[in-house]
Amino acid sequence: MISQEVKKILFEGDKKVATRNAYGEKLAEIGEVNKDIVALDCDLSKSTMTALFARKFPERFFNMGIAESNMMSVAAGLATMGKIPFASTFGVFASKRACDQVSASIAYPGLNVKICATHTGLAVGEDGATHQAIEDVAIMRAIPGIVVISPSDGTETGKVIEAVIQYKGPCYVRLGRSASPLIFNDDYVFRIGKGVRLFEGNKATIVTAGFTTHICILAAKKLEADGIEVDLINMSSIKPIDEELLIESAKKTGLIITVEDHNIIGGLGSATCEVLSEKHPARVVRMGVKDKFGASGTLSELYEAYGFDESSIIKTVKENILNKIV
């Protein structure tokens, strides 16, 4: 069930926003007040939505061409001068093409670069596997010192952008192409390292972040209608992760289901296992992309085919609750 306290921060109504749009709008808005912010893009500004910033502040926007590695180097150089560079491209390129520069030139010297990558996960849809980032969280999480955040809706995205500007150091923000329903209203407070429990129950814990969060909300509602109450944790701060909340919930339910639009190796599921296996061993079932590349299709077709759509989540929760009793 949803507590009265949580209800206060939930968006009422039916509005869909893509997190990339929320990012572009927030960046253009904050650019007015924070003149240290600069933005870089690799010929994708109309897709990552940094074009909104570029239109308002052309002198603070650098189109680096289709050269992601160099964009990260240039962002590092700008950061050494006290600028706050927002470097944007698709998640596949930010994490894989530019991995060396992100690690050696941004993370190792601890430079204040904000990598805001869009088009992550199978939710990209029709463009197919080469454009669906399913390893980005694993890669970024493994690089020392990078904060990894996967906001779950447009409102949270805006809050995350504000938070990463306040935070000094490298951050990776995982954004999406497709629109999804707003979850939070403006009273929601995002803090790096903190998750938020959207539903409360004791049968199981669902941990999710990013585009899958709204699907997990639908699943939790249906489970509740079937008399199965679960904890649903929105863990947008994947690194640092909210260990306390995970442990507390695992102690209560004894069963964790992680749901992510990412390879189950190295992402939110792995991060959850790392915490619980060391601090409170409990059964963790990882839902997401099961070590396969993506494909073309609509996002709902893909989520169903890869087994983490709403009905798969409900089924997995129910089956594992039965296993738990046995």
Partner: protein
Amino acid sequence: MKTNNDKKEIQEDKKEIIDSLKKVANKLRIDVIDMIYNAGSGHPGGSLSAADIITVLYFHFLNIDPKNPQWADRDRFIMSKGHACPIWYAALAEKGYFDKSHLGTLRKINSILQGHPDMKKTPGIDMTTGSLGNGLGVGVGMALAAKLKGKLYYSYILIGCAEHNEGVLWEAALAAAKFKLDNIIAIIDYNKLQLDGYNDEVMPIEPLANKWIAFGWNVLQINGHEIDQIINAIETAKNTKGLPTVIIADTIKGKGVSYMEDKCSWHGKAPSKEEYEQAMKELTG
């Protein structure tokens, strides 16, 4: 108007400057051999080829304050060929950024002098490097920031010739030209050798000057061991407006130690005791 006497004086002044810089370069070469011998590993070849360039930058051009390494308006220097850092550390110690006793700790645990440059550990280091090809792009970022802030400092980037194998270097070259970054001065330590052999065997990069010209750069070619040529080239670069300058400096890997010169085997190893003694004899002789 300058009289003949004035000209003569200027020439004598210049000769004095050149002679004193030569002495510094030799001193730094001695430090390099000492450091790498003590460390038991390191990259002598590329450190020695860059010795004269580093000397001219640090003891003639760079607008820096060793007592205030983070001074905002300082010139920036990036050693993109990070493995040649012993020569950089020697120059920084000589300038007074840190005590010379640190030189003996190169590559050792808890040292401020890492195997490759680390801006968080070593005073005077403006950028962490080590993964080849990345320095120029960082310099582009520094130069863009200078333009945005209306600052007049220069960003100098020392590039190894084999870094031209890295695609990202060319991405950075395109970007510097696009943004007309005349506050960037790239210097190529063109010693023609890399770890596995000559550039021509491993991956040919010629015609190098033509490549940079085609990428929209002002290109100067000099002998990278002739102090006056290095000085003149950097002066020309600073007076060039509207486009970035690259100075292609012909150098000899291992320059100054006879048995190391033009030998790729001296890319990344320390001298033995006998080799060390011979090197010292040659450099101090």
